[in-house]
């Protein structure tokens, strides 16, 4: 049934070797398995889902709750099984859809757990659910040889390449700011932490190192996609990719992010690279089936255009939405998430609440630690929208305790990229009356210093 279309009129439907897509599926599934097992190994399931009594909700997903007791362990166990299913290509669609849903559910439970690479995983799961990546080198292809395809339409490869390209390009664009390029922050702070590294520690602590690495990092992010796409530069570019991500993996606590990117960057190599690599090692794998038929390809085109168009249009717009908000994005964090703002800031905060009963004026000083874990508190304090959520948790609690019309004010302070701390939120605004949403948060106070270097010279007026 699978007949090679002699000449596909559309180049984006032209079949390409499915080997690199299969290799990506195997690598991605393996990384997902490791990522899931780390939750068991580090005790994060209890720490993030069972110990907290209150959670920070994503707008529109307030209904998402952790499962009680052992059920969260079951949840992660199912994620691990699904990740295995993806890697081995066993009931692939079911595996990738179930992993995606389970992963997104746990990720949506608490906003303090947001990480850029978790968002990347969610995006990739969505794409993978649309792509038959188990067409080769999978248990599915072995089980049902008729479904095996040695070649798949080129758009499938390009869809995944585009996803990784977005991470690099927007990550690079986000670095085109004064903190990064002029003041070499936050790298200046982070690199100095590694003074005791053998051989390179002394060099890393020098101010020039941060400056050099800041520029190199931005240049890398902005140029690596075209360098990977061009045949002449591709081998050197991939060596650069390996060097870059291994360095970031060593220097920064960013978990599996570098490995996801290393895995994804392999998609930019020639589609048959795994087959030729194995052949070079004397291993020849039998490919099941041949290529997607012209009829299949055209059938997929009917839904492909609008779906992919809408998805990538959204992917282009979402990271740019911060321009719709006033102020420094790193300070306000409006439009910060889901935008590939990777490794851009060292921001620490401290917050306390004042609850005032309107009728009597009676004031209660409230520590967020009365409601949230230490980890949640540390994550929440420098993020204004999460401080708002915390204030509303406090307001609800005081209402339940019988305090009529509690007004909740935040004494929230933060320090961004080495600047002196300053108030993040207007202390006169009753956060119990504010509502979260997409509108600009006018109660976030503007960042006083546009430069960490200038900010560091300030020695007065901490507020």
């Amino acid at each position: 049934m699978a007949i090679e279309p002699a000449s596909t009129t559309r180049s984006w439907l032209r079949p390409v070797d499915a080997a690199s897509l299969a290799a990506f599926r195997i690598g991605f599934g393996a990384l997902l398995l490791v990522a899931t097992l780390r939750y068991f190994a580090h005790g994060w399931i209890a720490e993030y889902f069972l110990l907290p009594t209150h959670f920070f909700k994503y707008w529109g997903f307030e209904w998402v709750r952790p499962f009680p007791g052992a059920w969260m362990y079951v949840h992660f166990g199912l994620m691990a099984l699904s990740a295995l299913g993806i890697a081995f290509g066993y009931r692939y669609r079911l595996s990738v859809v179930s992993f995606g849903l389970l992963f997104c559910y746990q990720h949506l439970i608490d906003e303090t757990n947001y990480l850029n690479h978790y968002y990347l995983v969610a995006c990739l799961c969505l794409l993978l659910a649309c792509l038959p990546l188990s067409s080769v080198w999978s248990l599915d292809a072995r089980r049902e040889p008729n479904c095996g395809r040695a070649r798949l339409p080129a758009w499938m490869l390009w869809a995944l390449r585009a996803q990784f390209a977005l991470v690099y390009v927007f990550g690079g664009l986000a670095k085109l700011n004064r903190d990064w390029l002029v003041d070499a922050q936050p790298l200046g702070i982070w690199l100095a932490r590694h003074q005791d590294l053998p051989w390179v520690g002394g060099w890393l602590a020098r101010p020039g190192a941060a400056q050099l690495m800041s520029w190199a990092g931005a240049l890398f992010d902005l140029s690596i996609v075209p360098l990977l796409l061009m045949r002449r530069t591709r081998p050197y570019a991939y060596v650069l990719v390996v060097a870059f991500h291994l360095t970031t993996a060593r220097l920064f606590s960013i978990g599996l992010f570098p490995y996801f990117m290393l895995c994804g960057s392999l998609l930019f190599l020639a589609p048959d690279w795994p087959r030729r690599l194995l052949a070079g090692l004397g291993i020849r794998l039998r490919a099941a089936g041949d290529a997607v038929s012209a009829a299949e390809a055209r059938a997929s085109e009917r839904w492909l255009r609008p779906a992919l168009g809408a998805y990538f249009a959204l992917q282009l717009v979402v990271p740019l939405r911060h321009w719709a908000y006033p102020g420094n994005m790193l300070w306000t964090e409006q439009g910060f998430r889901f935008s590939w703002n990777v490794m851009l800031m060292e921001k620490d905060g401290a917050v306390d609440f004042r609850v005032v009963e309107r009728g009597t004026g009676q004031t209660f000083h409230v520590s967020p630690r009365d409601y949230f874990t230490a980890y949640q508190t540390a994550m929440m304090a420098p993020q204004a929208d999460l401080v708002l959520q915390a204030a509303q948790v406090v307001a609800r609690d005081y209402r339940a305790r019988g305090v009529r019309e509690p007004a909740v004010y935040a004494d929230a302070f933060a320090s961004l990229n080495g600047r002196p701390m300053q108030r993040l939120i207007d202390p006169r605004v009753d956060l119990a009356q504010e509502r979260d949403g997409l509108a600009a948060k006018t109660w976030i106070l503007p960042l006083k210093s546009d430069s960490p270097a200038r900010g560091a010279e300030l020695t007065e007026n901490l507020e």
């Binding site: 994060w44 081998p235 991939y238 020639a270 230490a374 600047r419 900010g455």
Partner: protein
């Protein structure tokens, strides 16, 4: 959808070129490059750090441990031993015992103990030292029940009681009977009741001395060797993989102590969380009228860790590290420490009087300590790139 045909289309055309077999030389380059980089990275990543010339951060970690942590633990052990000896004397010969000296010995233990709270990690957590020595409040009804029972009041027996029935605050309950002359008389009474009180105090004192000794030894080479394991990161038995992780631990504990000082030790009796309902009974050392000196001890501990010394000399420390990156942040931290200390010293003693006579001054002290916590938790942490290490989860 023209976007796809016009923009993506040409890109996909590139794929035709990509499908051309790359030259073998390019493949060799790629594989060799990756292998070389992996090997180099493993060399940097995997090997235990080689001995390096002492960088500032390593010097700060070692210096703070040698100049602050270990001497404070030693002083705590010595003071606890002295208190225990005096309580033993009181138990064995109440007629000649110097009750005033014993009470002063109790107060003298609290100084280094409160300072040591600023570095209550590692062995202090493993040995449960502070819970064992300084649990507050104690359950006085249960202590009274033990006193009136006929259970033997040896150190072994008392150690089996919950931490809220022994430790320094149990001794405080017995040694400092507030204004109740009967209780003081009971302590010195030449009868079974008095004897059991003195036995209980003596047993509790022995346990405090034992816990302080265990804590000091855990940092010494002959037992736990924690000081070496803490200050020489990267070795197989080291506490941390990097020097910075050790500094993060120091810094984090100063934030925790500042928060406890503000929210619990000052905030609770001030009624900060109860709408201003002052409750002097919620202070830590009310009977001994040592609440303010306890708080000053905590603050001294934070300052010592930050400045890397117990005296005024300028040494390589967290302070100098912060200063090197941001002089302003260091000035803010030192100012915040000074202002918190001035505000606490400005309170009339004891805290009971301050709470009733000058609650506005207690509020000022509360605000000053809060400000200290904010500066440490934001500017200082941020300048050193430290994180509040409540979790080992990934970033970004």
């Amino acid at each position: 959808m023209r976007y796809f045909s016009e923009k993506v289309g040409p890109l996909i055309e590139l794929e035709k070129h990509f499908q051309v077999q790359p030259r073998a030389r390019a493949w060799r380059w790629l594989l060799l490059g990756c292998a070389a980089l992996s090997a180099a990275a493993q060399g940097v990543v995997g090997c235990a750090p080689e001995p390096l010339p002492d960088g500032d951060r390593r010097m700060a970690l070692q210096g703070t441990t040698e100049r602050v942590i270990m001497p404070t633990h030693h002083e705590l052990r010595e003071r606890a031993r002295e208190l225990s000896a005096l309580l033993d004397e009181l138990a064995s010969d109440p007629a000649t015992a110097d009750l005033a000296a014993t009470r002063q010995a109790y107060l003298d233990v609290r100084g280094p103990l409160e300072e040591a709270e600023a570095f209550a990690f590692g062995p202090a957590e493993d040995l449960n030292t502070f819970k064992s020595i300084d649990s507050a409040p104690v359950d006085t009804a249960k202590i009274d029940a033990e006193l009136t029972s006929d259970v033997e009041l040896s150190a072994t027996q008392v150690s089996k009681l919950g931490t809220n029935k022994r430790g320094l605050h149990a001794i405080e309950y017995l040694l400092f009977p507030a204004d109740d002359a009967e209780l003081e008389a009971a302590l010195l009474a030449d009868d079974v009741s008095g004897e059991r009180r003195r036995q209980f105090a003596s047993a509790a004192g022995q346990l405090v001395a034992s816990a302080a000794r265990e804590l000091e030894l855990a940092w010494q080479p002959e037992k736990g060797d924690f000081a070496r394991r803490f200050t020489e990161p990267g070795a197989p038995d080291s506490v941390d993989a990097t020097v910075q992780a050790g500094l993060d631990t120091l810094l984090n504990q100063t934030v925790v102590v500042s928060e406890v000082l503000a929210n619990v030790k000052l905030g609770k009796p001030l009624g900060a969380d109860t709408g201003g309902k002052v409750d002097a009974a919620l202070q830590e050392s009310g009977r001994a009228q040592a609440s303010l000196s306890d708080m000053l001890g905590n603050l001294r501990g934070v300052r010592n860790i930050y400045r890397g010394t117990r005296d005024d000399e300028r040494v390589t420390s967290l302070s100098t590290l912060v200063h090197a990156k941001s002089p302003a942040a260091d000035v803010h931290a030192l100012d915040a420490l000074d202002e918190a200390e001035v505000a606490l010293r400005d309170l009339p003693e004891p805290l009971d009087d301050a709470l009733t006579e000058a609650p506005e001054k207690v509020q000022q002290a509360y605000d000053a300590v809060k400000q200290l916590k904010r500066v440490l938790a934001t500017e200082v942490l941020s300048t050193l790139g430290a994180s509040l290490t409540f979790s080992d989860n990934d970033g970004d």
